[in-house]
Every structure is written in structure tokens, then in C-alpha cells.
């Protein structure tokens, strides 16, 4: 492989990592904090992509598209969390999984109803190429990665520097004891959920110009999002980031070497890691789901 291929692959991998992180972090938070497997994150991701499509097509502004994507995804998140998920947090995991999966399916149905089945293209927000060691690469792909890093830093600051964040970290360890102090953990759940769904919407909008936006785009992503959180360790934001970084490169490099590898390699990496460390790279210890002690 020559330098050109290497660098192109690296940059493609970084953009993939960015998208993986943005769509997976909500699943990781949902598991760590609310102890649910929220498959319906992919609805926010898909809605985000479609909002980008609709707004960019009608106004020509990608920035507006992003804002609309985040706003709509967050709004959907509020509705789903307060009207539905809040009622099922205390149920067993299988039950909440069926519920969130149903929301995912209903979401796909609504998307088909609004936008139809045909895939939609989203105009690229920028054609700028920049040079990395003589090799020209699309700036937009690097920007996606930069946004993901900023989101990561934002979440870390929230968790480590604010009292709300400390309550969230405490809640990840033991939600009952947080309540015992007199803190309304449900309010914290809602806030975190809205942040997570907004981020998933952002991921969808950012990825939209690089793919064809379709009602089933969440399916493909669901699989990779799950691999990302399992490899990183459920509940660990840092783990999700590290795992997204690894998987992005694995997918890009795999695809460069032999196209089908882009889809197979992530599974192989996940299985290898899980064999050695079942809780994933940065599995969080908590009181739920066999993570005890």
C-alpha cells in the first residue's frame, strides 16, 4: 500500500470514528445510567439525517440543517423518555429492549410515511480538500471527527466539572443511593437522555452528505453502534470513544484491503476483545446486570 492509500484510509477511518462515537454514546449512557438498551437511538440518528436533507434542500444551509437535526432529535428524545421509557426503567432488561426496539420500528414507519422509501442525497456542505503530507483529503471528513472530539470533551467536562455531572457519575454507580440523598434521578435521566438523542441526531446530520439518506440507515448503524459500546465497555464514555477510534480505523483499513472486511473486521475485533475481557475495554463496574464487584 502506498502513502496515498494509507492517509486516505486514515482520514476515512477518522470520520467513521466520529459518526460511530456520536451514534453510540447515547447507548452507552443509557446502559450506564438508566440500565436500558436504547435501540431507538437509531431513530434520532435517522431523523437527524432526514432533517439535514429537508433543510439543506429547502434552504441550502447545512448549518441550519444541523441545528434542526439536533433540535428535532432532542425533542423526540424528550417525548420518548418522559412518555414511555420512564415507565419501564424498573422492568427487566429484556422488556425495555423490546420497548426500545418497537420505538425504533415505529420510528422507521413514521420516517417512511413522511419521506418515502427512496434514498435521498444531501448536498455536500464543502468540497474543500486539504493536504496531509502531499496527499489531498476531504476537509469535511476531518471536521466530523473534530466535532465528535468536541462533543466528547463537552461530555467529559459535564461529567467531571459540574455537580449535575457528578450526580450522573454517582447515578451510574448506584441510582438508588442518589435518590436516597434527595436528588430527583428521573430529572437527571431526562436531561441525559435529551443530550444523548440530540447527539445521535447530530451524528445523522453530519453523516448524511457522505451517504444516501434512507429509512433503513439506522439498521446498519445499529449493529456497528452495538459493537462500539460493547467493545468500549457499556457505560464508559471514554471506552466508547476509544472503541470508536479503533473501529473506524479497522473499518477503513479493512475496506481498503478487501471491501467485505469493512463489515466483518469490527465483529472479529469485538469478539477477540470480549474473549479476553468480557466487560469490554473500559467496562464500568456497577450494581446492575452482572457487573457487580
Amino acid at each position: 500500500m502506498n502513502l496515498n492509500l494509507w492517509i486516505t484510509s486514515l482520514v476515512y477511518g477518522l470520520s467513521m470514528s466520529g459518526v460511530l462515537f456520536l451514534v453510540s454514546v447515547g447507548i452507552s449512557i443509557g446502559f450506564g445510567l438508566m440500565r436500558i438498551v436504547n435501540m431507538e437511538q437509531m431513530v434520532y440518528y435517522t431523523f437527524g439525517a432526514y432533517m439535514a436533507y429537508t433543510i439543506v434542500t429547502s434552504t441550502g444551509s447545512f448549518l441550519l440543517g444541523i441545528i434542526a437535526a439536533v433540535a428535532v432529535a432532542a425533542a423526540l428524545g424528550i417525548i420518548v423518555e418522559t412518555q414511555l421509557l420512564r415507565r419501564v426503567y424498573s422492568r427487566e432488561m429484556m422488556f425495555t429492549m423490546v420497548v426500545t426496539f418497537s420505538v425504533f420500528l415505529i420510528g422507521i414507519g413514521i420516517i417512511q410515511y413522511i419521506w418515502g422509501l427512496d434514498p435521498k442525497p444531501v448536498a455536500s456542505p464543502m468540497e474543500t480538500m486539504i493536504r496531509i503530507v502531499r496527499v489531498k483529503v476531504p476537509l469535511y471528513r476531518l471536521l466530523i471527527f473534530a466535532v465528535a472530539i468536541l462533543v466528547y470533551i463537552g461530555i467529559q467536562l459535564l461529567l467531571n466539572r459540574t455537580i449535575m455531572g457528578k450526580a450522573i457519575r454517582a447515578g451510574i454507580e448506584n441510582p438508588n443511593n442518589v435518590q436516597g440523598l434527595g436528588i430527583n434521578i428521573y430529572k437527571i435521566f431526562t436531561i441525559m437522555f435529551v443530550i444523548a438523542s440530540g447527539i445521535a441526531g447530530l451524528g445523522g446530520a453530519l453523516y448524511a452528505p457522505l451517504i444516501m439518506v434512507g429509512p433503513y440507515m439506522g439498521w446498519d448503524m445499529l449493529l456497528f453502534a452495538f459493537i462500539t459500546v460493547i467493545l468500549g465497555g457499556l457505560g464508559s464514555i471514554k471506552g466508547t470513544m476509544v472503541s470508536a477510534l479503533i473501529l473506524g480505523q479497522v473499518m477503513a483499513l479493512g475496506g481498503t484491503l478487501w471491501a467485505p472486511l469493512a463489515y466483518i473486521a469490527p465483529f472479529i475485533v469485538m469478539f477477540l476483545v470480549i474473549l479476553v475481557k468480557p466487560t469490554g475495554l473500559f467496562g464500568v463496574r456497577g450494581t446492575a446486570f452482572g457487573f457487580e464487584s
Binding site: 457528578k166 457519575r169 454517582a170 448506584n174 443511593n177 436516597g180 440523598l181 430527583n184
Partner: protein
């Protein structure tokens, strides 16, 4: 039952609680008066923790009612019960291990808007030297001290402690005993204990629980001193 029931802070009557189909509390009635230090004794599995967790709002009751300061609290969420000044310190001594001692206390302050740590840290001055330590690295005794200190933020009127001295060295048990007496001067306590000599020393009144029922209430000073509650276990 006891004649003078004025100043009743907590009144639990005919409480029945089940885990799915397994019934574990069979019509439990207890009360705690303002200023008292009431101790609940009973063997493992008697249902003591279940009673406390139900009062604190973590478990939904089957039948009966729980009245705190004249109001029914049995439909409230656990955080609402805590906000009303009824705190529960669980049996497992679980602090937020990933946070420092300081951050643990900050959470207690955030929950209660009570930022006067000095007032609560007087009972365990040692904690002041451990503020920057990860709570996960504290010893069992230090964890218990931190949990009590956190619970006292917001000046709760009633604190339920679930086997606070379990597994602690004798010296620490003595320290806690002294703290209980000190805290009890301004806070009502309802404590689960398996340490009977300690119970005899600190209790104003003792409930004995067996197989999900209150089987005895020991009120006379001398009876408590002589640990007559032991024979009901």
C-alpha cells in the same frame, strides 16, 4: 401499646410487603417519636431491611400505611421522602466510590442545599483529612462515617440506619456509638442493629422482629439494659 403517642414522627401501621409472590412483612406496626433512638433487632432474613427500604420509598408496600410528620408518604418516590427530611442509610455501606469524599459531600449538599459541612463533620473530624481521597479507597468505618455525614446534610429529622456497625472493628463501633448519642441530641434515630450489647447501651426503645412480624417492644429502661429483647429473636 405505649400510652403517650404525641410527638409521633413516624407511624407505620399494618404494613405488608412482598417481593413478587413472596410475602416478607406481615402487618408490621411501629412508631418513632421525636427525639427517640429506637433500635430494631432481629435475625438475618427477618425483614428489617425490607421495612426500612419500604419506609424510605424504595419498595412499594402491599397494604398498610406509613405516616411521617402527619402525612402519608407511602406513594412518594424515594427522593421525595429524603427531601422531606427522612433519610435512609443502606446496609451495604456503598459510597460513590468513583467520586472523592469531597464530591460525595457536594452531592449531599446539592440535594439539600445545605452547604455547612462543619456542622455535620463535627461527629467525624477524621473525614476532614480525607476530603480528596477517592471514596472507593476508604475503609469500611470511614465509609460509614461518610454516609452518616452525607445523610445529616439538610438536617433531617429522622435518620434510618441499616446495621451501621456491621463488620466494623470494636474501636470503630465505640466511635460510632458515641456519635449516635451525639447525633441523637438533635436528630431522631431508628437503627437496625445485630449488636445487642450496643443496642442495650444506646436504645430508648427496642423492637424485636421475627419472620416478618414485630414480636416484641421493649420500653422499660431496665429491660433494655438486661437485653430482654434477646429472648424474642
Amino acid at each position: 401499646m405505649n400510652a403517650d403517642r404525641t410527638n409521633t414522627l413516624l407511624n407505620v401501621s399494618d404494613l405488608e410487603v412482598s417481593y413478587q409472590k413472596l410475602k416478607v412483612l406481615f402487618g408490621v406496626s411501629v412508631y418513632v417519636k421525636k427525639g427517640e433512638n429506637v433500635v430494631l433487632v432481629g435475625r438475618n432474613g427477618a425483614g428489617k431491611t425490607t421495612l426500612f427500604r419500604t419506609i424510605a420509598g424504595f419498595i412499594k408496600k402491599g397494604k398498610g400505611n406509613i405516616v411521617y410528620k402527619g402525612k402519608e408518604i407511602d406513594r412518594l418516590e424515594a427522593y421525595e421522602v429524603a427531601q422531606r427530611g427522612l433519610k435512609y442509610i443502606p446496609q451495604d455501606k456503598q459510597v460513590f466510590s468513583d467520586l472523592t469524599v469531597r464530591e460525595n459531600l457536594e452531592l449531599g449538599s446539592y440535594a439539600t442545599k445545605d452547604h455547612e459541612w462543619d456542622t455535620v463533620l463535627v461527629h467525624f473530624p477524621k473525614l476532614k483529612t480525607l476530603l480528596d481521597r477517592k471514596a472507593g479507597n476508604l475503609s469500611g468505618g470511614e465509609r460509614q462515617m461518610l454516609l452518616i455525614t452525607m445523610a445529616l446534610l439538610g438536617r433531617p429529622e429522622l435518620v434510618l440506619m441499616d446495621e451501621p456497625t456491621e463488620g466494623l472493628a470494636p474501636q470503630l463501633v465505640k466511635e460510632l456509638k458515641d456519635a449516635f448519642k451525639e447525633i441523637n441530641r438533635h436528630t431522631t434515630l431508628f437503627i437496625i442493629e445485630q449488636n445487642l450489647p450496643l443496642t442495650a447501651e444506646v436504645a430508648d426503645r427496642v423492637y424485636s422482629m421475627k419472620e416478618g412480624k414485630i414480636v416484641a417492644e421493649t420500653t422499660a429502661r431496665d429491660d433494655i439494659k438486661e437485653m430482654v429483647f434477646e429472648k424474642y429473636l
